[in-house]
Chain length 174, copies 2
């Protein structure tokens, strides 16, 4: 599996609008763009964006929220795809591997990537009220951890950073 292209902030829609998930925006364009990028990325890497995989990505792209595997599965089944768990889990795994989606540990759920194909492991800001998910820069937090880890002789391979709280819209409501 080829590695995705390096991150280029100039062409990354997620970087251009970091508050995407929490702000009003032209989401139809946002989703269409992500889907187009997904086609380009998979074509470039030789991976196959098959109908099930593409449909799962479309479902995740419907909004900036996280969906459980069984929610995705129900949608797939309604569209005539298989309705056994592996159908959803395999497509989701593929998307995560390709950098087109992320898994949110805290929610046992998945969300479309806002910086598609950039081979990143972002931090997540998760609204506990509306389940919106925004991606934030994880590097500073990871660096802070690395110091402690080095002192203990621990080698960090992957880091999960997830913040639960309230997004601006839900805060206003309360």
């Amino acid at each position: 599996m080829p590695t995705p292209a390096p991150h280029n902030p100039a062409t990354c829609p997620g970087c251009a609008a970091p508050d995407l998930a929490f702000a009003a925006h032209d989401h139809a364009h946002c989703a269409a763009d992500a889907l187009a990028r997904a086609h380009a990325i998979t074509a470039a890497s030789g991976a196959r964006l098959t109908p099930v995989r593409r449909r799962v990505l479309e479902i995740l792209l419907e909004d900036h929220r996280a969906l459980g595997a069984y929610d995705v599965l129900a949608r797939l089944a309604a569209d005539g795809f298989g309705n056994q768990p592996p159908v959803a889990y395999r497509a989701l795994e593929f998307l995560v591997e390709q950098g087109l989606a992320h898994r949110i540990q805290r929610l046992n759920a998945f969300t479309a990537c806002a910086h598609p194909g950039e081979a990143h492991a972002p931090a997540f800001l998760i609204c506990r009220s509306c389940h919106s998910v925004a991606e934030a820069e994880a590097a500073p937090a990871r660096d802070a951890l690395a110091h402690d880890a080095a002192r203990l002789g621990f080698t960090i391979e992957r880091t999960t950073i997830e913040a639960l709280g309230l997004c601006p819209a839900c805060k206003d409501q309360a």
Copy 2:
């Protein structure tokens, strides 16, 4: 439920030996000390360290690893306690509330706290090979995230920071 006492590094065994989980040490003393502190903490707060709860804490204290709820349950059942999931989950929930244990999201598992009663939400260094868990300082990483969150108008309430990797011992083996 009264809030635990603030963190006092001078009296905190976890702070005195931050590499506890990954280094050879007098673990019998380490566990006995934690258990004694647990008695003191719960007595002070009026919470009841009942036989099941105490036994669960003892089980978690057997080493610096994370155990699943069903692993704990099997041990409880072998000791003559109830063998239905709520028995384990309730005791674990109690220990987490009291600051005597932590939940590791990444593993769906629980580990005894190395800084008992200090009302903290640490970062975790998790060995993917032996499942040892060390607690690290989460404040710097949290602070790094807070900047991004503030920019987006997101209010952080809780943060999960977990690093997966290899501990010194497992690294040497490989």
